[in-house]
C-alpha cells in the first residue's frame, strides 16, 4: 500500500486506500465524527466542525487532514489511540503530505459514497391525500382507516382478528379515553343496547366527559415534560405553574382546534390566555441565585434555558430534533447550526419567571385582595388601640376576649389575602425585549459569532413560504410569526406529528414509532398512506381532536380482539405493527392509581387548582418524604398532584412515571419486582382494598336487603361476585369463585380486593 510510485501521489492508487484504512472508521458514512466525511470529495474539502477546510491544496501545513495525521496538533492526533485504528506510518504520512503539496488532486467520480439531499425525506414532503385502497375482504372496513390497515395486512398474507366482545371493547375504550374503568352498569347498559349506534353513543358520552380532558392532558404533559418544581440544583417549588395544566385539560375538553391549541401555547398572551404560554417554560431551569455569580455562568444558564424552549417547540410540534444543532450542524437532518439560531431568535425574549397573571379569575382575585386589605388594616388599628389603652393599666392578667376574636379574624383574612394574591401570579412565559442572538461556536456562549435574525427553518422553504423578520420585530410579533408558520395547513410536519401522537395514545405505538422524531434518524411509518390520509383529513375537517378520536376508536381496527389467535401473525409480526389484533398494554401509573380509587369508590373528582401533595415537601433540597396515606384531597386524579421533577412517587412512580427531565415521546412499560412490592404491599393499596371491600359489602347489603328478608347468612358468594364485577366488569367463573371464596372465608374480603387490584386483568387495557 505504501509502495511509492514515480511522480506525485495519485488519489485513487495512493491516497484513497490510506483514507479507507485510517480515516473511514470514523469519518465516512452518516455518523461522520465531528461532522467530517472523507468519503465524499466536497465534504472533505468543506471540512468538519470548527477546523475549517480539512484540505488546503498546495498547503499541507495549513491542512488539518495532514497536520492531524502527522500528530502536529496536540489533542487532535489522528487517528486517536482510542479508535483502535492503526496510525499512519512515516511513509504514509509522507505520501499524504506530498499529495496535498502537489495540489490535492481528487478526481470526480471516484468517491465511495454520494451525498444525499437531506431535504429529500418522506416527512418533509407536503401531505397529499392518497386514494383509499381497494381490499378483498370488502365487508370488514368501517371506514378509510380500516381499508388502509386491511390492505397492508392482506399484502402481508395476514387477516384481522375477530371483533372483541362488547364488554372488552367498552372496557378498552373507557380506559383509553378517560383513564378510568367503566362501571358494571355502563357495561350492562351497552351490552343490552341492541339499537343501531350503540358504540357511537358510548364514544360520544366518553368524549363529552371531563374525564377525557384529564386523561389526554396527561399524555400531553408527558410530551412537554410539565412539572411543578424548577428541577436542577435545588428543585424548588414552581408554585403557580398549574394554570397551564388546567388550561390543557380545559382546551382538550372544549375540543379546541389543534392549530389554535398550538398557537395559544406559543402566543396565548395575544389572546388573553397567559396560562397557555406555560408551555414555553415547562423545562427545568436554574433560577437567579442558583447560577454562578460570574458572567460566563449566567450566559451559559441563559443559553441552556433558551435551548430547552427550542427543544420543546421542535420536538413537540414538529417532531424534529433541532436541539443538537445548537452545537453543530444536525448529523442526519437538514438543520444547520444557523437554522438553530434563527429559530432561537423567534423565542429569545422568553424568560422563566413568575409574573402577574391576567385572566378573569386573576382579576377577581385582585379585586378580593383590594376588598379585604382595608378590613385587615382596620383590624390592625383596632388591636393597636386596645394595646395602647392597656398600657396604662396595671393588672390586665388576660387580654379581653375581644382581642382574641379580632386576632383570629385578622389571621383568617390575612391567609385569605395570601391565597388570593397567589392566584394573581402565574408561572408562564414572561416576555421581554428579545436577546440578540448570535451563532455560537460549538454552542458555547463564550464563542459568539455573527448575529442572526428570526427565520423559519430553511429546509422547508420549498413547501412553505419562509418567514423572516427584521431585528426590530417586537417580541410578540416574533412568536406570532412562528405560530403562523408552524400551524400553516400545508406544514408537512405539524399535522402528521399530531395525528401520529393520537394514534400512538390509542394503540400504544404510533404509525411512526419515534413520535417526536420524524427526521431521517426516526423510524419509517408502518402505514405511510394512512398517516397522510389522516393528516390531510384532520386538517380539512378543522383540526378537531375529538373527531379524530371518534374516527379511530369506532374503526374495525380498534374493535378487534386482543387475543393473539393467529400463530402466523405472532410469528411474522410479534410487535403487532400491522395491527392484526388490538395490542393490549399495561396501564400507566396515573391510570392505575385513578382506577384503584374509582373501584374503591373513593375517587375525588374535584377538578383544577393547586396540586395535592404526594410528598411531605413541595420543593427544595431536603428530600421528598413520601406521603403514604391520604385523605379526600389526596384521592383526586393523579394529574392534579403537585408534580415534583426528578422525584418518583413512592408507589406508582415505579410504573414508568416520567420524571419531567426530558421531553418524552412515549412512555416505557417496564415490569419490575419493585412495582410488585409497591402495588401489593403499600399502605395505599391496603387502604383502598379495605375501602373497596366496604363498598362491595354495602352494595351487596343494599341488594340483599331488598330481596332477602332473612338476612345475616353467609354472603361471600355475592361479595365475590360483586367484587369481580366492580374491579373487572365481569363475573368470576366457577373456579375463580371457589378460590376467591376460600380467601374471603379465611382472611376477609379486603384480601380478595387487594388481589383484584393487582391482577393483570385489572391493570391492562384489554
Amino acid at each position: 500500500m505504501v509502495a511509492a510510485a514515480e511522480g506525485p501521489p495519485e488519489f485513487v492508487r495512493d491516497i484513497q486506500p490510506l483514507l479507507v484504512q485510517h480515516c473511514y472508521p470514523c469519518h465516512a458514512g452518516e455518523a461522520a465524527e465531528s461532522g467530517l466525511r472523507l468519503d465524499i470529495k466536497s465534504e472533505a474539502f468543506r471540512g468538519g466542525d470548527g477546523h475549517g477546510p480539512a484540505i488546503v491544496p498546495g498547503e499541507p501545513m495549513a491542512s488539518p487532514l495532514v497536520r492531524f495525521a502527522r500528530g502536529d496538533e496536540p489533542g487532535f492526533e489522528m487517528p486517536p489511540l482510542e479508535a483502535e485504528v492503526p496510525s499512519l506510518n512515516d511513509a504514509e504520512r509522507a505520501l499524504l503530505t506530498a499529495w496535498v503539496a502537489a495540489g490535492a488532486d481528487w478526481p470526480d467520480g471516484v468517491d465511495t459514497a454520494t451525498l444525499v439531499d437531506r431535504r429529500d425525506h418522506w416527512a418533509f414532503r407536503r401531505v397529499s391525500r392518497p386514494a383509499v385502497p381497494v381490499v378483498s375482504e370488502s365487508d370488514w372496513p368501517r371506514g378509510p382507516i380500516d381499508a388502509f390497515i386491511l390492505a397492508r395486512l392482506e399484502a402481508s398474507g395476514l387477516s384481522p382478528s375477530p371483533e372483541a366482545d362488547r364488554r372488552t371493547w367498552i372496557r378498552r375504550v373507557t380506559l383509553d379515553l378517560t383513564g378510568l374503568p367503566p362501571t358494571i352498569e355502563e357495561v350492562q347498559a351497552f351490552v343490552a343496547d341492541a339499537a343501531d349506534g350503540a358504540h357511537e353513543r358510548v364514544v360520544d358520552r366518553l368524549l363529552a366527559s371531563p374525564r377525557y380532558g384529564e386523561r389526554y392532558a396527561q399524555h400531553w404533559l408527558d410530551t412537554v415534560r410539565y412539572a411543578d418544581t424548577h428541577g436542577y440544583e435545588v428543585n424548588t417549588e414552581r408554585a403557580n405553574a398549574w394554570p397551564y395544566r388546567d388550561w390543557v385539560i380545559a382546551a382538550l375538553n372544549a375540543d379546541l382546534s389543534y392549530d389554535r391549541f398550538v398557537r395559544e401555547q406559543l402566543v396565548g398572551d395575544a389572546y388573553g390566555l397567559d396560562e397557555a404560554t406555560g408551555f414555553l417554560v415547562t423545562a427545568a431551569v436554574l433560577l437567579p441565585g442558583q447560577i454562578g455569580a460570574d458572567d460566563a455562568s449566567k450566559r451559559l444558564a441563559r443559553q441552556e434555558a433558551l435551548s430547552d424552549i427550542i427543544i420543546n417547540v421542535s420536538d413537540t410540534f414538529l417532531g424534529l430534533s433541532v436541539g443538537c444543532a445548537r452545537c453543530h450542524d444536525h448529523k442526519f437532518d437538514p438543520v444547520s447550526q444557523r437554522d438553530y439560531y434563527t429559530l432561537q431568535a423567534f423565542l429569545s425574549g422568553v424568560r422563566y419567571e413568575e409574573r402577574p397573571f391576567f385572566s378573569p379569575a386573576a382579576e377577581e382575585a385582585r379585586e378580593r385582595v383590594q376588598e379585604l386589605t382595608p378590613r385587615v388594616e382596620a383590624l390592625a388599628k383596632e388591636l393597636a388601640a386596645i394595646e395602647e389603652a392597656a398600657k396604662g393599666n396595671e393588672a390586665p392578667a388576660e387580654p379581653p376576649p375581644r382581642v382574641a376574636e379580632l386576632e383570629a379574624e385578622k389571621q383568617r383574612l390575612t391567609q385569605q389575602i395570601n391565597a388570593e394574591t397567589a392566584r394573581t401570579m402565574v408561572f408562564a412565559g414572561s416576555f421581554h425585549e428579545p436577546d440578540v442572538v448570535r451563532l455560537l461556536h460549538r454552542g458555547d456562549p463564550e464563542q459568539p459569532g455573527e448575529e442572526l435574525l428570526p427565520r423559519s427553518l430553511s429546509a422547508f422553504d420549498q413547501q412553505l413560504t419562509p418567514v423572516a423578520l427584521s431585528s426590530n420585530a417586537s417580541e410578540q410579533t416574533r412568536r406570532l410569526a412562528l405560530a403562523d408558520w408552524i400551524t400553516h395547513p400545508a406544514h408537512p410536519l405539524t399535522s402528521r406529528v399530531i395525528v401520529n401522537r393520537i394514534w400512538q395514545w390509542h394503540f400504544g405505538t404510533g404509525l411512526v414509532e419515534s413520535a417526536s422524531d420524524f427526521g431521517r434518524n426516526g423510524t419509517l411509518p408502518s402505514h405511510p398512506e394512512l398517516l397522510d390520509w389522516l393528516a390531510d383529513w384532520f386538517v380539512a375537517d378543522g383540526w378537531s381532536l375529538k373527531r379524530l378520536h371518534r374516527e379511530i376508536v369506532l374503526s374495525a381496527t380498534y374493535r378487534q380482539a386482543s387475543e393473539p389467535v393467529s400463530q402466523a401473525a405472532v410469528a411474522s409480526d410479534a410487535d403487532c405493527r400491522l395491527l392484526w389484533r388490538f395490542p393490549p398494554r399495561r396501564l400507566e401509573a396515573e391510570a392505575i392509581r385513578d382506577s384503584m380509587l374509582a373501584v374503591s369508590g373513593r375517587l375525588n373528582l374535584e377538578m383544577g387548582g393547586r396540586g395535592f401533595d404526594l410528598f411531605g415537601s413541595r420543593g427544595g433540597l431536603s428530600g421528598f418524604p413520601p406521603i403514604e396515606t391520604f385523605g379526600p384531597e389526596g384521592r383526586r386524579r393523579m394529574i392534579y398532584a403537585h408534580k415534583i421533577r426528578m422525584e418518583k412517587e413512592s408507589v406508582f412512580g415505579a410504573f414508568d412515571c416520567p420524571d419531567a427531565g426530558q421531553t418524552l415521546a412515549r412512555r416505557r412499560r417496564s415490569t419490575t419486582p419493585i412495582q410488585a412490592l409497591n402495588l401489593f404491599n403499600s399502605p395505599f393499596t391496603i387502604d383502598e382494598a379495605h375501602a373497596f371491600a366496604d363498598r362491595v359489602t354495602a352494595d351487596v347489603a343494599a341488594v340483599t336487603a331488598e330481596s332477602d328478608s332473612e338476612g345475616n347468612h353467609d354472603r361471600s358468594e355475592q361479595l365475590v361476585r360483586r367484587a369481580f364485577e366492580v374491579a373487572l366488569t365481569r363475573l368470576p367463573d366457577e373456579e375463580e369463585q371457589a378460590a376467591a371464596e376460600g380467601v374471603v372465608h379465611e382472611h376477609g374480603l379486603a384480601m380478595l380486593c387487594r388481589v383484584l387490584l393487582n391482577t393483570n386483568e385489572f391493570l391492562f387495557l384489554p
Binding site: V20, Y24, P25, H27, A28, G29, E33, D39, L81, E82, A113, R225, Y232, E233, V234, G292, A293, S297, E304, S321, E513, S514, S516, G519, N521, T523, P564, A574, D575, P584, S622, G623, M646, K648, S650, V651, D659, A660, G661, Q662, A665, R668, S670, T671, T672, P673, I674, A676, L677, N678, F680, N681, I686, H690, E746, H747, M751, R754, V755, N760
Partner: protein, 488 residues
C-alpha cells in the same frame, strides 16, 4: 442505523442476538465491503438484548471484562483536591497573596487571596505519594490506587455537575452510570436489585435521584435506594395483614393471573408481571438478610467504626458494611454516598466559608469506614473482581472567597481515583498547575473517566447505546477516551 428492526424490537423485546460484533473490531477487508454498502457507522451500536421477564439476567460484556462489579464512593459537595490528594507545596509560599491574573468573581462571589493547604501533607507507602493528614486511613491505601489529578467538569454548579458526573449530561433526565451498567450487563444475583444506591445518613445528594435514575432507559434499571437504617420500601405488607393472609393472597393472585395468561398466550408482558411477583417474593426473603449486620463480627464492626460514638460516622460505617455485603452477593453496581445536599457545607463537602472546621468533621465520617471497606474487600478477595471508584463532582479554588475561610467551586482541575479490578496500582496521572488553578497536564473530562469505568467492565463506551428521541444516546455523548495510563 439498523432500521429493519422496530424500536421495541431493538431495545427490549427482541430475542435476536446482539446486533453488533464483540471486541474484535472491523478488519480491513470487512471494512471495505461495508463501505461499499455505505452502511458503516464509526461504531455500530450495541443494544443489549433484554428479556422483559428477566431484565436483570446476566448479559455478556463487549469484550473480556477486568471487573465484574462496581462500587462508586460518591463524595457530594465537591471535595477540595488541595486538602486531600493534590499536593501543592507552592501554595504554601503564596499563602495570603492574590493570584496574579486570577478571576475577580467566581461561582459564589468575589475571590480572596490564595490560601495554603489547610492540612499537612506527608509521603505515603511505597510510592511516597503525598497525601494530607485530613484522611490518614485512606492515605495508607495510596499504593493500591490510580489517581487522576487532571479532571474537568462542564459546569461549576453542584446539581448539573452531579448530573454530569453520574449521567454524562449536565441536564436533568439522562440515565445514570449504574443504569447504563445494569442495562448492559444485568446482574449476577436475581434475588437482589442489580443496582443499589446507599444514601448518606445526613440526607440525599444535591442532584438526588438523578444520580441513580434510569433517565430514558426502562425503569428496571433504576437504582434501588436503601441504607443500613432504611430498608427497601414496601418490602413487607402494610396494615396488619397476617403472614397466612399474605400467602393466601399471593397464591390467589398467581392463580388468577395464570388463568388470564392462558387466555392470552404468548403475551410476554403478562408473563413478565407474574414473574415480577415471584422476584419480589424472593427479594422479601433476601433483602432482610443482606441488610442485617447481626452476623458481622465485633472485629469488623470496630474496624469500620460502626460503633463509633459519633452517630453519623457509625451510620455511615454501617452503610459501608452494607455496601460490602451487597458486592459480596453479586450486586452489579453499588453507589455509596458520603455527604448530602448543599447546606453551607454543613452536610457535605461544600466548604465555602469554614472549610477546615467543616472538613475536620466530614473527614472523620469518611476516612476510617471507607478505608476499612476497601481493606475488607481486599481481604475477602473481592477487590480482584470489583472496581472501586472514588469521585466528587468538581474541585475547589486555590484561593479563599473574599472575607471567608473556604474555597469556591472549581470545575477546571480536580482529583478522583480508582482501585481494584483492572486498575494500575500506585499511579498518579495528569496534573494541575503548581497552584492548582486548573488542569494543565493530560487534561481529562469526566467523559473520559466514565469511559474508563465502562472499559474496565468490558464495555465499549462508543457502542453501548440506546435510541431515544432520534439520537443514539451514550453515557459519554459523542466524547470520551479510555484513560489507558491507569489501566493495569
Amino acid at each position: 442505523m439498523n432500521r429493519s428492526l422496530s424500536f421495541a424490537g431493538m431495545q427490549l423485546l427482541d430475542r435476536r442476538g446482539f446486533l453488533g460484533q464483540t471486541a474484535s473490531g472491523l478488519g480491513g477487508v470487512a471494512l471495505a465491503s461495508l463501505l461499499a454498502e455505505e452502511r458503516l457507522l464509526a461504531a455500530e451500536p450495541i443494544r443489549p438484548q433484554v428479556d422483559p421477564a428477566t431484565p436483570h439476567a446476566p448479559r455478556p460484556p463487549h469484550f473480556a471484562a477486568k471487573a465484574k462489579n462496581v462500587l462508586v464512593i460518591f463524595c457530594a459537595g465537591a471535595v477540595s483536591q488541595l486538602e486531600t490528594w493534590d499536593w501543592k507545596p507552592e501554595l504554601v509560599k503564596w499563602d495570603g497573596k492574590p493570584l496574579p491574573g486570577g478571576p475577580e468573581v467566581t461561582f459564589q462571589g468575589p475571590a480572596g487571596n490564595l490560601a495554603r493547604p489547610q492540612y499537612a501533607f506527608r509521603p505515603r507507602g511505597q510510592t511516597g505519594k503525598m497525601v494530607s493528614d485530613l484522611i490518614p486511613h485512606l492515605a495508607e491505601l495510596t499504593d493500591r490506587c490510580a489517581f487522576v489529578h487532571s479532571l474537568t467538569s462542564r459546569t461549576n454548579t453542584h446539581g448539573p455537575a452531579e448530573n454530569f458526573l453520574s449521567t454524562g449530561s449536565a441536564f436533568d433526565g439522562f440515565p445514570s452510570l449504574g443504569a447504563w451498567v445494569t442495562y448492559a450487563l444485568g446482574s449476577e444475583n436475581q434475588d437482589l436489585p442489580a443496582f443499589v444506591s446507599i444514601l448518606d445518613p445526613r440526607g440525599v445528594p444535591q442532584a438526588s435521584s438523578n444520580n441513580w435514575g434510569p433517565g430514558f432507559l426502562p425503569a428496571e434499571f433504576q437504582g434501588t435506594t436503601l441504607s443500613a437504617s432504611e430498608p427497601v420500601r414496601h418490602l413487607t405488607v402494610a396494615g396488619g395483614v397476617t403472614p397466612a393472609a399474605d400467602e393466601a393472597a399471593q397464591r390467589l393472585l398467581k392463580h388468577l393471573n395464570e388463568r388470564h395468561l392462558a387466555e392470552h398466550p404468548s403475551d410476554g408482558a403478562l408473563a413478565a408481571r407474574i414473574a415480577s411477583y415471584e422476584l419480589a417474593a424472593r427479594m422479601q426473603l433476601s433483602m432482610p438478610e443482606v441488610g442485617s449486620l447481626a452476623d458481622e463480627t465485633p472485629f469488623t464492626l470496630t474496624a469500620y467504626g460502626a460503633e463509633d460514638p459519633n452517630p453519623t460516622k457509625a451510620a455511615f460505617a454501617r452503610n459501608c458494611i452494607l455496601a460490602r455485603r451487597l458486592i459480596e452477593r453479586g450486586v452489579r453496581f453499588v453507589q455509596l454516598f458520603n455527604g448530602a445536599y448543599a447546606s453551607g457545607g454543613e452536610l457535605n463537602w461544600d466548604g465555602h466559608h469554614k472549610l477546615k472546621e467543616q472538613y475536620d468533621r466530614h473527614a472523620m465520617i469518611l476516612d476510617q469506614p471507607v478505608a476499612a471497606l476497601i481493606r475488607d474487600l481486599e481481604q475477602r478477595g473481592l477487590l480482584d473482581e470489583t472496581l472501586v471508584v472514588w469521585c466528587t463532582e468538581f474541585g475547589r479554588m486555590p484561593f479563599f472567597q473574599k472575607g471567608a475561610l473556604g474555597r469556591d467551586h472549581n470545575p477546571d482541575g480536580f482529583t478522583c481515583w480508582m482501585t481494584g479490578a483492572g486498575v494500575r496500582q500506585g499511579v498518579s496521572h495528569g496534573a494541575t498547575d503548581e497552584l492548582g488553578v486548573k488542569a494543565v497536564d493530560n487534561v481529562l473530562s469526566l467523559y473520559d473517566f466514565n469511559a474508563t469505568i465502562l472499559h474496565l467492565l468490558g464495555l465499549d463506551h462508543t457502542r453501548l447505546s440506546y435510541l431515544h428521541n432520534g439520537f443514539e444516546r451514550r453515557l459519554t455523548d459523542v466524547h470520551g477516551h479510555v484513560i489507558r495510563e491507569i489501566l493495569a
